[in-house]
Amino acid sequence: MAYMSEGAEGLRSIPALLRRNAEQHGAAPAYREKEYGIWQSWSWAETEEQIEALALGLLDLGVASGDFVAVIGRNRPCLYWSMVAVQMLGAVPVPLYQDASAEEMEYVLIHCGARFVIVADQEQVDKVIDVQAALPQLEEMIYLDPRGLRKYDHAHLRAYRDVQEAGRQRRGDLGAELARRRARLGYDHTCVMLYTSGTTGKPKGVVLSNRNIIETAKASSEFDRLKVGEEVLAYLPMAWVGDFIFSIGQAYWAGFCVNCPESPETMMTDLREIAPSYYFAPPRVFETQLTSIMIRMEDASALKQRLFHHFMAVARRVGPRILDGKPVSFLDRLHYGLGELLVYGPLKNTLGLSRVRVGYTAGEAIGPEIFDFYRALGINLKQLYGQTEASVFITQQPDGEVRSDTVGVPSPGVEIRIAESGEVFYRSPGVFVEYYKNAQSTRDTKDSEGWVATGDAGFIEEASGHLRIIDRAKDVGAMADGALFAPKYVENKLKFYPNILEAVVFGAGREKCCAFINIDLTAVGNWAERNNIAYASYQELAGHKRVLEMIQGHVEEVNASVAQDDMLSGCQVHRFLILHKELDADDGELTRTRKVRRKIIGEKFQDLIAALYGEEGSVYTETEVTYEDGRKGRITATLEIKDAKVVPVTAARMAAE
C-alpha cells in the first residue's frame, strides 16, 4: 500500500497506475474476455507485458509523442490495451464509436489528424479505407481480427499480433526510449480525447488530462469504496466517457477486473456469468429488462405469478427501506427474507445482478417505477449526473439518499452553481482542458475561473441539497402565452410507460403542445399477440386503431399529472401522432447515445408538425430512411392524428398573467 498512501500525486498517468497494479496485485485478474466459449483472463502482470509489447511495436512503427491514435471497435481487452500503450508513448488515444458511419469517422479522423488507427475487424478497416483518400496524414492501420483481410493490400495494414511480436523483438534497443517516454508522463499530459456525440452540430474533441481522469477516478472510487475485488462488465461504447472512467480510470485506480463480453448479442448471458459487483447501465437497459420480466411473468404459471406479485408488493414496501438502512419491523424483515429466497434471489440471478454492490444509471431520467423495482429487489441502484467535459462526475447519490427524481449531491471535489437563467454550472478537478482546435467553443463553455456550463436547467432542492434537472437549458422555452415550456419533462413522463419508447414534444412559442410518439415494439408487440392483433411491421402496428387508443390513454394520464405541476401545467399534450418509423441514429434523428435531436426531427418532419397544429385528422407523409448498410430508401404512410383530453389549467394561466 506504499503507493496508495502517496495518493494521486505519486501516480500521474494510467501507465504509472498499471506499473503499481502489476507490482502490488500482479496475480490478480485485470481483464477477462469470453472467447471460444471460455472466459480467458489476464492478470495485471500479464496485462503490463501485453501493453508494453504493443507500445514497443507502435514505437517501432514511429508513433511520436503528441500523436493522435484512433481506436475503433467493441469492448475488447486488446483495444483497452491499445489505449494504454498509446498513452505510454506520450501519444493520445482517440476512441471512436464503432457503429459510426464512414463519413462520421472521416470528420473525426481529419479533425484530430490521426496518424495511426487501431481497429477491431474487417468492417472497420473497410470504413477507414472508404475515406482514406481524405486522410493524407494517416500512415498505418492495425487490426485485431484478421478474418477476411488476408488479401487486402498490406502496405499500410498490420495485424495487432505482428505489431506486438515486432515490439517484443525490439525490446532491447527500444526499451530505453519507451522507459524515457513513460517517465516523462505528467499530470498535465493529455490522457484521452473523446468526441462528444453532440445533439447539435459537429462532434467536438474533448481533451481530458491525466489530472482530470486520475483525480476523478480517485474521488469517485473512494466515494463508493471501490477496491481490487470488484468485477465490471465493459459493454458500453469505448468512445463514451463513462466507459473510459469505469473501465480504465477507476479500474486502474482501484485495480479491479474488467470483463469483456463475447459478442454484443451474448451480453445478457455474459452478464449473468460474471455477475458484476459494480454495474452501470443507461435507464433504457433497465427499462428493457423490466419489460421483458413482466412479459415473461405473464406467461408463467398461476402459482408463480401469485408468488411474484405477492412478494413484489412486499419488496416495494420494505426493500428500499432496508437498503437505505431505515428501521423495518422484524416481521417485515422475515417476510422479505422469504421473498429473497423464493423470488428476489432467483430473479436477480437471472438478471445477472445478484452481486451488484454499487449500481449506477445516468444519461436520461429513469421512471420512478422502474427505479423502485430494482431498489425493491435489494439492488443498490443509484443515479448520477455527468458529462464528458466533467470526466463524468458532477453529482451522484450517496448510499442511503437515493431517490428517482434527483441526481444527487455534488461529487467530491465538485462545486455547483445555478445561474439566474436556471442553468447549472460546475467546477472540479475533472473539468476538461479544452475542445481540440476549437477555442471559441471552449470559451463559450468554460469561463476563465473554470466554471463550466452544463447546458442543463435545474435547481438544488433546499431540504436535501440534491440537484434536480428539469431539461436542457436551450430546450426550456416559453409558449405563446409566456408559460414555461420544458419538453423533456413531459417526454420523460410519457416514456415511463413501457409501451412508449420515445416521445418528442413541440410547443415552444406555440399556443399548445403537440407530440410525436414512438411505440416500443417489444411491449406493444407482446400486447398485440395477447389481444390477437395481427401485424406485419412496425408501421402497421403503430397505425393500429387500438394502439392509438391505448397511447391516447397514456397521453391523457400524463396530461393529468403534468397539470398538477404549477410551473409546467401549460405543457399538456393537446394533439399527438404515432410516428411511422422508429427514430434512429442512422437517420440522424438520435445521437449515438440515443438522445433525441430535436432540431433535426423538427426539420425532417415539418409536414407532420404542421398537420399537428392544423385541423386535419390525418396526414400523408414520405420519409427517407437509411438502412444499416448505408443504402437509402423511402417509406410512405398516412398517419392518424389524435386529440388528447387536457386538464383545464386556469390556476397556472392566472399566475402567468
Binding site: E35, Y36, G37, I38, D126, R147, G148, R150, K151, Y152, E262, S263, E265, T266, T269, D629
Partner: protein
C-alpha cells in the same frame, strides 16, 4: 458487397491442382439417365459452382461426390488416386463434408451438440472410455470442443450456442449446418443450395461466410445454387448442367456468354 470482395480473392488460393476429378460419370435409375457422361474437375482451393435448371441432375452429382450414389459408369479421382466404391460415412472420413438442401439437423439438440456431431469422424475413443469418461475420451472431447468453438466464433453464432436448433430461424439453421460441416475440417465442402429460401440480408451474410471459409481455411468448395447473382459473385468456375448433360464449363464470364447456357435458361424452340 460481394463485388468488393471478389476481385481481391481471384487467383490467389486457387491452384491448378485438381483435388477431385470426375471422369465420364453416368448415373442411371432404371431406364432414367440422371447424369449422362459428365466429366469435370474441382481444383484445390477453388469455389466451384454447379448450376442448371430444375431436374438437370445437380443434386445427383453432389450425391455422387459425397458417396450417397455410386455412379453407373465412370470413375472419380480423389487426391490423385481413383476412389473405390464407398459408403457415405467412408467418404466423410476421407475429408468430404456437406450440407443439405432440406436442413438435416437434430432439432431437439443444442447448436453446440449439433456442431459437435460434425467431429464424429475425428473421434477415436472407444465406447468404454467414453461411457466412463476416462482420460482419453475426455481429452478428445476437449480438443474437439476447441475446434467447434472456433467454428462457432467464425460463423458468429455464439449467442445461440446453447439454443435448441428447433427454436432457430431457417437462415440460422442453414448457418448451423454449415458450422457442422466445417467442424469436420473437410478438404472439400459440398453445399447443396446454401441460400435457398433466404432473404437478401441472409444471403449476403451466407455469401460472406462462404468466401471467408474459402479464404481463411483454404477449403475447396463445391456448391449448387439457383441465385445467379450469388453464383457469379462467389465462384471461380462454373459447371452448367441440363437434362443430365454438361453444357458449359468455365469462369462465370465465359458461362454467362455461352449460347447453350443462355438457351437452357431462357428456353429455345427444339
Amino acid at each position: 458487397m460481394l463485388d468488393d470482395t471478389k476481385p481481391a480473392s481471384a487467383g490467389q488460393t486457387v491452384t491448378d491442382i485438381a483435388l477431385m476429378e470426375l471422369q465420364n460419370i453416368t448415373l442411371r435409375f432404371g431406364g432414367v439417365v440422371a447424369i449422362n457422361d459428365i466429366s469435370f474437375d474441382i481444383r484445390q482451393g477453388e469455389v466451384r459452382a454447379i448450376i442448371g435448371p430444375n431436374g438437370a441432375g445437380k443434386s445427383s452429382m453432389l450425391n455422387i461426390i459425397s458417396g450417397f450414389y455410386t455412379p453407373s459408369e465412370g470413375q472419380i479421382l480423389y487426391k490423385g488416386a481413383p476412389r473405390p466404391a464407398m459408403r457415405p460415412y467412408e467418404v466423410a472420413r476421407t475429408g468430404v463434408a456437406r450440407t443439405f438442401q432440406n436442413i438435416a439437423l437434430f432439432e431437439g439438440m443444442t447448436v453446440l451438440d449439433n456442431v459437435m456431431t460434425g467431429r464424429l469422424t475425428h473421434m477415436n475413443a472407444g465406447i468404454f472410455s467414453q461411457a466412463l469418461w476416462l482420460g482419453k475420451a475426455r481429452n478428445e472431447e476437449i480438443a474437439n470442443r476447441e475446434i467447434v468453438e472456433k467454428v462457432i466464433d467464425f460463423l458468429e453464432i455464439q449467442n445461440i450456442r446453447k439454443t435448441p436448433v428447433g427454436r432457430l430461424s431457417y437462415g440460422l439453421k442453414k448457418r448451423v449446418e454449415l458450422a457442422r460441416a466445417l467442424a469436420a475440417e473437410p478438404s472439400i465442402l459440398l453445399l447443396d443450395e446454401p441460400m435457398a429460401g433466404m432473404n437478401v440480408e441472409e444471403k449476403e451474410d451466407m455469401s460472406r461466410f462462404i468466401l471467408d471459409v474459402n479464404d481463411e481455411f483454404g477449403t475447396t468448395i463445391a456448391l449448387i445454387e439457383h441465385d445467379m447473382g450469388v453464383v457469379m459473385d462467389l465462384s471461380d468456375r462454373v459447371v452448367v448442367m441440363d437434362y443430365g448433360k454438361k453444357i458449359g464449363d468455365g469462369t462465370p464470364d465465359e458461362v454467362r456468354n455461352n449460347q447453350d447456357v443462355i438457351d437452357a435458361y431462357l428456353g429455345v424452340a427444339h
